[in-house]
Symmetry: D4
Subunit: 244 residues, 8 copies
Amino acid sequence: MNEKEIRKILKAVESGKASINDAFKRIKHLPYENLSFARVDHHRHIRQGIPEVLFAEGKRVEDVIAIARSLYKRSRKLLITKASQEIHGSLKIRNAVFFPASRIILVNGEKKKKGSVLVLSAGTSDIPIAEEAAVTASFLGSRIETVYDVGVAGLHRLMGTRTSLDSARVIIVVAGMEGALPSVVGGLVDKPIIAVPTSIGYGTSLKGLTALFAMLNSCVPGIAVMNIDNGFGAGCLAHKINMV
Amino acid sequence: MNEKEIRKILKAVESGKASINDAFKRIKHLPYENLSFARVDHHRHIRQGIPEVLFAEGKRVEDVIAIARSLYKRSRKLLITKASQEIHGSLKIRNAVFFPASRIILVNGEKKKKGSVLVLSAGTSDIPIAEEAAVTASFLGSRIETVYDVGVAGLHRLMGTRTSLDSARVIIVVAGMEGALPSVVGGLVDKPIIAVPTSIGYGTSLKGLTALFAMLNSCVPGIAVMNIDNGFGAGCLAHKINMV
Amino acid sequence: MNEKEIRKILKAVESGKASINDAFKRIKHLPYENLSFARVDHHRHIRQGIPEVLFAEGKRVEDVIAIARSLYKRSRKLLITKASQEIHGSLKIRNAVFFPASRIILVNGEKKKKGSVLVLSAGTSDIPIAEEAAVTASFLGSRIETVYDVGVAGLHRLMGTRTSLDSARVIIVVAGMEGALPSVVGGLVDKPIIAVPTSIGYGTSLKGLTALFAMLNSCVPGIAVMNIDNGFGAGCLAHKINMV
Amino acid sequence: MNEKEIRKILKAVESGKASINDAFKRIKHLPYENLSFARVDHHRHIRQGIPEVLFAEGKRVEDVIAIARSLYKRSRKLLITKASQEIHGSLKIRNAVFFPASRIILVNGEKKKKGSVLVLSAGTSDIPIAEEAAVTASFLGSRIETVYDVGVAGLHRLMGTRTSLDSARVIIVVAGMEGALPSVVGGLVDKPIIAVPTSIGYGTSLKGLTALFAMLNSCVPGIAVMNIDNGFGAGCLAHKINMV
Amino acid sequence: MNEKEIRKILKAVESGKASINDAFKRIKHLPYENLSFARVDHHRHIRQGIPEVLFAEGKRVEDVIAIARSLYKRSRKLLITKASQEIHGSLKIRNAVFFPASRIILVNGEKKKKGSVLVLSAGTSDIPIAEEAAVTASFLGSRIETVYDVGVAGLHRLMGTRTSLDSARVIIVVAGMEGALPSVVGGLVDKPIIAVPTSIGYGTSLKGLTALFAMLNSCVPGIAVMNIDNGFGAGCLAHKINMV
Amino acid sequence: MNEKEIRKILKAVESGKASINDAFKRIKHLPYENLSFARVDHHRHIRQGIPEVLFAEGKRVEDVIAIARSLYKRSRKLLITKASQEIHGSLKIRNAVFFPASRIILVNGEKKKKGSVLVLSAGTSDIPIAEEAAVTASFLGSRIETVYDVGVAGLHRLMGTRTSLDSARVIIVVAGMEGALPSVVGGLVDKPIIAVPTSIGYGTSLKGLTALFAMLNSCVPGIAVMNIDNGFGAGCLAHKINMV
Amino acid sequence: MNEKEIRKILKAVESGKASINDAFKRIKHLPYENLSFARVDHHRHIRQGIPEVLFAEGKRVEDVIAIARSLYKRSRKLLITKASQEIHGSLKIRNAVFFPASRIILVNGEKKKKGSVLVLSAGTSDIPIAEEAAVTASFLGSRIETVYDVGVAGLHRLMGTRTSLDSARVIIVVAGMEGALPSVVGGLVDKPIIAVPTSIGYGTSLKGLTALFAMLNSCVPGIAVMNIDNGFGAGCLAHKINMV
Amino acid sequence: MNEKEIRKILKAVESGKASINDAFKRIKHLPYENLSFARVDHHRHIRQGIPEVLFAEGKRVEDVIAIARSLYKRSRKLLITKASQEIHGSLKIRNAVFFPASRIILVNGEKKKKGSVLVLSAGTSDIPIAEEAAVTASFLGSRIETVYDVGVAGLHRLMGTRTSLDSARVIIVVAGMEGALPSVVGGLVDKPIIAVPTSIGYGTSLKGLTALFAMLNSCVPGIAVMNIDNGFGAGCLAHKINMV
């Protein structure tokens, strides 16, 4: 252990067995290990609140189960994204809730909800990604409100959410196809907006690239954009902003 | 002339100089020329109103001048798209007006304006393409109204055009960047909408491809989409629809 | 209800219970709701004829059934696009006809057919999309004629449709592969043409992008282009133009 | 003015000159104008701090000058992005500072600086975009710290900024080429990170698309991504988050 | 029938029942039908040898069977490309041979083989497309030689085919991955070369686009390039050149 | 010289100075040089008629002049593609003709013209590339006919070229924008067609990629496709086919 | 055999049966065969160590089995990449080990391991490709060390591998998503680095293109990049460098 | 200074002023600074030989001059890539040699040349990039041989380089257009090959992407690929491999 080594060097100095020069040289050559153990502590602090999240896509079911149980044991909290019915069935953790559309498994999560994050979706097909964002931010400790199916082709629906728009600290806007909703919302409020393009659409939607590019080109300055279908990322960012 | 030939064959039949079999064979072998003369007449009818249009891009100035004068002589009308100050200077046709932003030269045009075409632009940078569409449709004989700078980031500006939206028979919507305006307009009216993406934007606007793809993916069904920066095409289509 | 609120304010003014200043302030703060109720009426008018259409792709069968029945109840008309045999089997609405190639379910539709929309397809593989366009426009109330398999490699087949070309008010041209048919048709007539690229082809057809781009670059000015495989959109636009 | 109109209607009701039914109908037909005047006020609030920003790209110098002076007159503040030496020369506003690399013209800006925004750049070539972000956020009222040239190929340089990383509320990371810096920074802190890809690089950098896509795919969840070279947008978002 | 109509008109002229003017007008209005019947004859001539080819991809089995039998009845020859075991099983035409890798069904074909077409493949995975080209050209009447697995990574294999290279009139080169073989072959001979890219490869092979683009950029001038995996087209072109 | 070496070895064997074993070993180790001198002869044969062609793009003027003069000295023939006025001015070879649009410099060329190559262009903007193809094939010894501006939007113009279509052995079709002309020509004749996409067009023409992809996806089987703007390659291939 | 032929010619010269001129001509016409036999020997040397590798993708199971057994018989070593459980089950070679994640079948391999190749993976999902690289290099005779899951979001994990980094002669870095790890490793060591992008990621990872492009744009000069998921190629290159 | 801090802590331990526990805690919190000073030393070692390289693209001339002089002062060696005549003119360092085609400025460089790096170019237009690679590797201390213009269309030229191929330790292959040369070279030798795609070509060469993708898809396993036109990177990697 690095801790041991440093303590040994310090003891040698204390006991006069090592000169300061010698001790300095030995400490100087330990930077990486040094960093290594430092980072473990620091790391835990950094990722405070997110360590219990597991991305299941492309992992074997048995591996997911093993990691999930180990994570759960530590904190009695757990969030698995891109999960499956099969994982949920094999997990055997009480209170584990499975959201089939969003493919999320949730166990407990932060109890005290703070601040306010509003999650909007343009269409009904965008709801799974919106839900992924909402569950994530809620799991991390943000208070959540969701309003779905308020796409730009029927502005009156969006206008009906005015109170929600006004009371949120951060707004997540989930939209596929032409990805126009973040621009319209951005014209109505002056708070941070997180845009999540979805792969909903066909032909020139290019599996979400068109919505992504449209959001990056919004005529409203300063919209935060996520990767396609990345509801989880949006939830994390919203929570971080909400906690600023 | 083909007409002469056919008449000659018919006369030969009438006068008994040719058998029906011989005459049939000769006529049978004329299909292309046949089509050719038919098409000349038909063609003139088809393109009624558009023959005096000249696309100047990639042509040498002297060639443009020569064709333009010849076109003008026939009908005393002329429209040159993607023109230049230099062409305008050398053209020497009275009444020739040059629109520098849109790079159009206009001489006369249809005097009687019919119906009603509304041309909207999202930003001020989109105005040259919008103007190209407006001048084209007007040249062909459509009555035109233009409202510029009504992008989605400030919906109240668009809302202020409600009377115009209601009274138009066809609406041309010109927008760059995220190309969201046609969807919003399409949610407000039930008449034909022609969307023109522009190359305004940078980075992921991909020189207009993003706006184009967004318009093709509009959540409003049935929006007609043009090539990038193709104001001329939008003017032609709007006029054709206006004349239905 | 908003109407009630405004009437209440007006009554208060009428009865002297509220000053004009107070009444003004209260009305001023209602814009969205105001818009909202306005839009409801307006909206119904706008989408007149299209409200009974349901896009089934990516929705769960039970949800599609539920929405479909609710839509059908309102108007005894229904159109489901991108449907499936399974949906048709579970729908249990009399007269519901399923078009397997086009994946459309049709119930009734507008009885009075007006005007004239011609639907052409380049190849036999393009027929499902052409049929989607034709069924849609017919459902909305347009009189429809369809001519299939008239691609550019055999011009004589197209030439045989001359009467149809001449009598239509709007023409929908459906083509995959090189997408050349709209240009050729556009050289023969002077009426609005709606081009629908299909994903038919392989290799550099790029799932329809090549046909799409070819149509947007047509040497015939003013062709309206739809998203890839968007027969439904073409049917909507054709109907709107047919009704101008 | 709409206000006048509504007051007139209310007066007519008060004076008994108009029935409630008539008054209601007249008010009902004003929703857009209603919204319009509402939005003017609201809009000013929304965009509080940003109205004096002008995007000069693609606008004629004389137009930029005219708009800039009008904006400046209102608030004695002004920010012009993508400006030029020529614009600066013609502007004739005292205190106007031109940043040639970032192509920004700054006049005054918010005096009270709040919170803390850290701006990092990976390379020296990324500095103009980083500076654009920093000037923007500062103009809007955020306290700014900048550390440049801390790319991932020399981690020790980044490690030397630890105090800055720890004290910032929001971090903007500007990087071209492989765009790796935001991921590394994201592994060190748990605060909101805004990643700005630049067009620095050649070949497969694809004018910044590679850096953009890399940032959107970061293994650190919840990084906010901007369009390529969009330092201005990053400055706006950082300020909004800083003000939450 | 058009022939009948024209003969009727001619008879009317002959018998004096129609004036030349009337007859001319009636003939003038028949151009398309005129073309139509002309094209039928001409068309048969044009496509001489190819009419019995059927593209099965994307067609229902029962439709393929029906068309195939009708084609076969006319000429006792048949070629079905992109076919399946199922089609072959249901076809019930004696002598029908199925090539499973190339997915071709062949019945008879031109008996007299003329000229000489050499078909090379770079790898063993390219053989199905090479075989498709070879079977097609042979079916149309070209004499065929095939040499497979002579890719550029082992030049000695290619060098061993020198006699074949020298005696062929046309050479088809089928290659996936980096698509380099046509350039090397083109450096060795001065006869027409037809390059067929295949979708063999992964990652940046981009499903054959890389091989396609490489072939179009060959440093050997004048190589004819086909669409990806288009062995059939290569066979047709080789036969046409072989017959010049 | 290798020839010398081999003769020396053979002489040594003849005179008994070298054993067969020694001679064999020495010859065995010469394969490359062996190939080398063989290839020189063979190479000359292979490229018969093409050795005097020089591609000037990206080469310095002085280098082009030097190589050009050396090539010219050998055969008194010369073709420089992608040349410039400056090169022509400095070349100082009598009879050198410069084609400014096609950027070709031609000196003499094969005098005896054989066979027949028809070159068609869709638009007038495609003429430079068509001319490049025509001059190349003519230089190599093919008899050339050119017909320009016969695009698909006016089929009657194409129909007027029927005699030319029928008498050619090979047809080069040059087209930009949607690239539809090769398909239409391919439906009319059964001879080899070489399609050359041009970079004419804008927006989704993608600098010629759309025309290229459309041609590769032609519904007419067996069209030979060239790289974008590669008139020179088309001329080479046409000549090779013409000489088969 | 060519050797025989040459010896025969030499004998004829020796015995005076052939003149030097005749002998020269006959030898001159043998270049390719000459090359051919030269290349056989050379070739064996060149590919020394790699001949027993078989790429199974896209080949039929029975073919793979046949080739594999033949390869194995020659050298009692065998490596099959992109294999399957089914192939392993049918192979019936003792000691054949199947790596299911990497889809490799290994039989024996070089016993003496030399030098030192370090294989790093950024995430756990990248392990199959890393393992493919490691197994390949080991099979060819390189000593291998593997360290997995040391992505840039947790630098301390990477720092913990310092001894491994320092002792390796070549380092393979396997990473998907944003592909940043090679740049960070490249900043820590001055030895050859081979970067392998994987298709891990979604949305803008573009199936590995983003990681590939990021690696090609690394700010660390001189990183060797492989095709997406090409662990086998990385193993080959690492071994070649390790053996320099 | 960190050194000071650590010495202070050690002194406090030595003098008994601090307990080991306290000292440990204070050292534990210094990891970054620790790393920082460690890395400076280490870093110098790492980049040994490359520190004097400066990338001039996109930097202002005066900045380049300043950095260059500072670099030169340290080691009397200097390499500037993507330089210009103007920089060379202003540099005023004796012995500075400017390579105009490669845009490199070289001052001195490693005197002792070791090992052997062979640089091949496919065409004459690829020479500037090949020269950039050669000058770089030579500057770093590798012995260099260059052979240019040995493209695949004339294999005999490549075959003439056999001795060079055999004697090199590493081979750099520079090629544009179809990028086929690395595959052919890779079939002839079993040593590390570094492929550099160039942007030479037009149309579907896509500014070098096609050559890049072709090289990544080479049928020869284990070719190291560089970014487009990245001769500098190839020189660095070749030197690193040469020094293994």
